[in-house]
């Protein structure tokens, strides 16, 4: 089961839905949440904690590439390679947009109250916290590597915050 699935789409938000669906399916191949729900061949809820973590992180990475790397103008592709194994899912995402320095991204304030609720700057934090490992290597192509391991204990696969 270490064969890869590869999806390449234009780097705009129009193709976000397709990419998110494929990633959700790839997550399901690992988590075992049924791929062919007989009740609805296209049912696609994200319920399993593993699927939740993978899809949540991937949505942020995709948004950021379309918005920040490609500046909402497209002009390049987003290339996604998903490698499901029995224990984990590794997703590599490549783009040819503008690179950035991920270490300069400010962390979220540690204690939130009503007044400090953030209205932005949550994407990288969500992706990092949902995954076991997230790395970014500026390119070209810029390369994101997302890794999520299937937890064996209960309640162990969503977030580590």
């Amino acid at each position: 089961m270490t064969a890869s699935i590869r999806l390449t789409v234009p780097g705009t938000l129009r193709y976000r839905g397709i990419a998110v669906r494929v990633v959700a399916e790839a997550a399901r191949l690992v988590s075992g949440s049924s791929m062919n729900d007989p009740d609805d061949p296209f049912a696609n809820d994200v319920r399993h904690p593993f699927d939740t973590a993978v899809v949540s992180a991937f949505m942020e990475i995709f948004n950021n590439i379309a918005i920040h790397a490609y500046k909402r103008k497209g002009g390049g592709a987003i290339d996604i390679v998903m490698t499901p194994s029995e224990r984990d899912l590794v997703i590599e995402v490549r783009d040819h947009g503008q690179a950035f320095d991920i270490d300069e991204v400010a962390p979220l304030p540690p204690d939130l109250d009503e007044h400090s609720l953030p209205e932005g700057g949550m994407g990288i934090h969500i992706a990092k916290t949902m995954l076991d490992d997230l790395t970014y290597q500026p390119g070209p192509p810029n390369l994101w590597r997302l890794c999520k391991r299937l937890a064996t204990g209960p309640h162990a696969d969503v977030g580590r915050s």
Binding site: V55, E60, L108, L112, E119
Partner: protein, 100 residues
């Protein structure tokens, strides 16, 4: 069809959000939120029961609503969050502020 519904009763505005609240659907909600805030509502009920998925853009829209209503002296009650949206609110530690 819009991913949300608004109903206004005297003294209370109810907002129901469904499906996916994300970078593609949040802008329409943000416009609606501006309209709601313009009425200086005393109480806003947000029902997230039919919401399946949210991303940081969706969270930002809800934060804007929350801060706007509170800043105008009103109250916000958010209920019904489940599955992926609930996981996101917990991760962001907003579950306490939002009282989820």
């Amino acid at each position: 069809m819009l991913p949300f519904e608004v109903s206004k009763n005297p003294g209370e505005t109810k907002l129901t959000i469904r499906g996916s609240l994300d970078i593609n659907t949040a802008p329409a909600l943000a416009e609606e939120i501006d309209k709601i805030l313009a009425t200086k509502p005393a109480k806003v009920e947000v029902d997230l029961g039919p919401l399946d998925l949210i991303d940081s853009s969706g969270v930002a829209a809800l934060v804007k609503l929350y801060k706007g209503v509170r800043g105008g002296g009103g109250n916000v009650r958010i209920s019904g969050a489940r599955d992926q949206p609930l996981a996101i609110f917990k991760l962001l530690r907003m579950d306490k502020v939002f009282n989820l």
